[in-house]
């Protein structure tokens, strides 16, 4: 057994030894592998299979009922989902909610820039800095449901009732602050504010901090000797050496943004996807089809498209994004 590299792939010499090797590994492998196959691997394949069917989920008495509920429809779901006719898209809602999902992702670059800025501050060797790091991370570990409930209360705006944020805005002299969660043009910005608060000191910041601490100090000392100012040091040492972190952070944020599990919770609890669908994301759309309307085939098709989006993005990112990364 070698430690770092994977052991060689030469097959074990005899069939008996192969069997012995399998038997030795099975007790370790099996508990996890069975669960993994049943609850992760097969479901992925099953989702693609379901996306080719019209499946109305309803209580069944026997397997025969199941055969009645599921009809194979080929790519019909995808035609309905992605297709266009002269009158416009077959499913205008899908495009709208895709648009919402992408719009809400506009917070990502802001969030990443904020994380980098915080990490630079946290990287100063100051006393008591870990307390700040802990505080910044609190939103990330807090229950999303509780976070949404308190933010709903902060954004609150009713006749005779003004929430915390709008009270502050009125104190600053804004006579008619927006009805954040109640109007179409302000609901998405409200969500972006919330996501910024949530994410700025979270995973991305910790990753950047780890990246910063990996930059050799000598480089800065050499730059000092050359008389480089702090901007030059940031521009020519820190930023290029952080590019692997930036690449990773951007990739993960966009993948997470497309899935938007926090925004699902927020839309579900704070606005019910409204007003007029302005905060409905693809995740909520899938959830509605699957759970509220019991149309699992179509829900699976949307989920498959979501997967393809994530997959395509990741591929493009690996192929072209890598070029921007500076590896020392």
């Amino acid at each position: 057994m070698s430690s770092q590299a994977l052991p060689d792939r030469t097959p074990a010499p005899s069939r008996a030894r192969r069997r012995a090797a399998i038997l030795r590994a099975l007790p370790f492998l099996l508990p996890n592998l069975l669960g993994f196959l049943a609850f992760t691997f097969v479901p992925v394949l099953a989702c693609f299979a379901l996306s080719l069917t019209d499946y109305r989920l309803a209580p069944i008495a026997s397997v025969a009922d199941l055969r009645e509920q599921i009809t194979f429809v080929g790519i019909d779901n995808f035609v309905r989902l992605l297709g266009f006719t002269r009158e416009g898209p077959n499913d205008p809602e899908f495009w709208r909610y895709l648009g919402n999902t992408l719009f809400l992702m506009l917070g990502i670059p802001l969030s990443i820039a904020g994380s980098l800025f915080l990490a630079l501050l946290l990287n100063q060797r100051l006393r008591g800095i870990t307390i700040f790091r802990t505080i910044y991370f609190l939103p990330t570990v807090s229950s999303a449901v509780a976070v949404c409930i308190v933010w709903k209360w902060i954004f609150h705006q009713q006749p005779n009732e003004v929430g915390l944020l709008n009270s502050a805005l009125m104190a600053l002299g804004l006579a008619h602050p927006p009805d954040w969660l109640g109007t179409m043009q302000w609901a998405k910005p409200a969500f972006i504010i919330m996501v910024l608060w949530l994410g700025i000191g979270g995973y991305n910041c910790v990753l950047y901090l780890a990246g910063l601490q990996g930059i050799p100090q000598e480089l800065y000392e050499a730059a000092d000797l050359d008389g480089a100012g702090s901007w030059a040091r940031l521009r020519h040492i820190t930023w290029p050496l952080l590019s692997p972190t930036t690449f990773f952070v951007t990739t993960m944020s966009i993948i997470a943004g497309l899935q938007g599990s926090f925004l699902f919770t927020a839309a579900f609890l704070m606005t019910a996807g409204g007003p007029a669908g302005s905060t409905t994301t693809l995740m909520l759309y899938i959830y509605n089809y699957a759970i509220a309307w019991h149309q699992l085939g179509y829900a699976a098709a949307i989920a498959a498209v979501l997967f393809l989006l994530v997959f395509t993005f990741t591929l493009i990112n690996w192929k072209y994004g890598q070029r921007l990364v500076h590896y020392s």
């Binding site: 057994m1 430690s3 770092q4 994977l6 097959p11 192969r18 090797a21 590994a25 370790f28 492998l29 996890n32 592998l33 669960g35 993994f36 609850f39 992760t40 691997f41 479901p43 992925v44 989702c47 379901l50 069944i60 199941l66 915080l118 100063q124 100051l126 700040f132 802990t134 505080i135 910044y136 609190l138 939103p139 570990v141 807090s142 229950s143 999303a144 449901v145 509780a146 976070v147 409930i149 308190v150 209360w153 902060i154 005779n160 003004v162 009270s167 608060w197 990753l207 780890a210 990773f248 899935q259 599990s261 609890l269 899938i286 959830y287 699992l296 989920a303 979501l306 997967f307 994530v310």
Partner: protein, 394 residues
Amino acid sequence: MIKSSQTTRRRLLNLAAYLLLAAVGLTMLVPFAWMISTSLKAPAYAVEFPPRWIPSEPATVTVDGIECKVATVGATFLSRPVGEASPPRPEPVGQAPSLSEDQPVGEASPPRPLRVALLRYSPEGAHVRILEPQSRAGEQLTVPEAHLSLVRETNLHWENYAEAWRAQGVRVREAFFGLARRVDGFLVFYTNSIFVTICITLGTVFTSSLAAFAFARLRFPGRDAIFLGYLATLMVPAIVIMLPVYALLSNLRLTNTYAALILPPMFSAYGTFLLRQFFLTIPTELEDAAVIDGASPFQVYRHIILPLSKPALATLTTFVFLHSWNDFLWPLMVVDRLALKTLPIGLAHFQDSYTTEYHLLMAASVIVMIPVLIVFLLGQRYFVRGIALSGMKG
């Protein structure tokens, strides 16, 4: 000379950094502070403009020279005269709605029992409704600020937590595995969350450490192909996996069971991947000696690999614990019976029943958040290291 100006500059920069850090830190804490502040307010004062950070409410109110003690009842607050008449105030200038026109304020007039309900405050003053004397009961008037003096006292309503915990509004009896089980508010959600989270965490750490050992240390045909299968699912959106599992469970009538809450989230590829990467970094020399001495693979796993992997195991434990404790979507999909709800979906349900009672909503939110914060503060080191570790692999 140069050196001292440099240290001054350094100090100024440090001060600026501290100020920035503190400003951001305060912004982060505002929602939490507001949550706690609201959770300690009386119902009538939970929604108040301008907002108050320290929960306080009127203790005495002086209307036209008569000082009254205020007692909060429900959404309005009543006032009663206190003992002797308070010293008369100089007559206010301008038109003032008088509460005591039939008995002019003066040293001769004894205090008549006076009860008003204060309805609300606005910039115009206090809106009150007269309850007593009977002759004027029901009459509403606005007392301008100038005629009103109000003393507020800090009053923390800790009983909000007890009320939120009991959650009368979501109390039901449900048949539960053949037994009638009373759902007593948050106690049930807490028990469910603790049980489900512990099962998922232990199950994940145990099974994935075994599998990771097989992938990192044992040689068997098909190993790399199987591991590739694990890797391939890392990128798949969770909802893709959830839909078929949900369909399967609902066809087998297994929704609304603990098994549905616990088993599917237990086997994500993530844990196996994380531990396998860590196990690969452990040098093999130690176990080589043990193997020569005749140790079985299980003994190697139990007595060499596991003790050396404590940091990685702690990282995974913290991750899985926090994730399953806060998980919302999966429990939402597979459970709609109150007796089986975990804290996040229980809190969501609580929000449906107590839409406008912000003091209770905030108290309930605090109740849900506390254990996570404790676990995070205890396991912070491992958590932060775990993130850095997962980042390196990207």
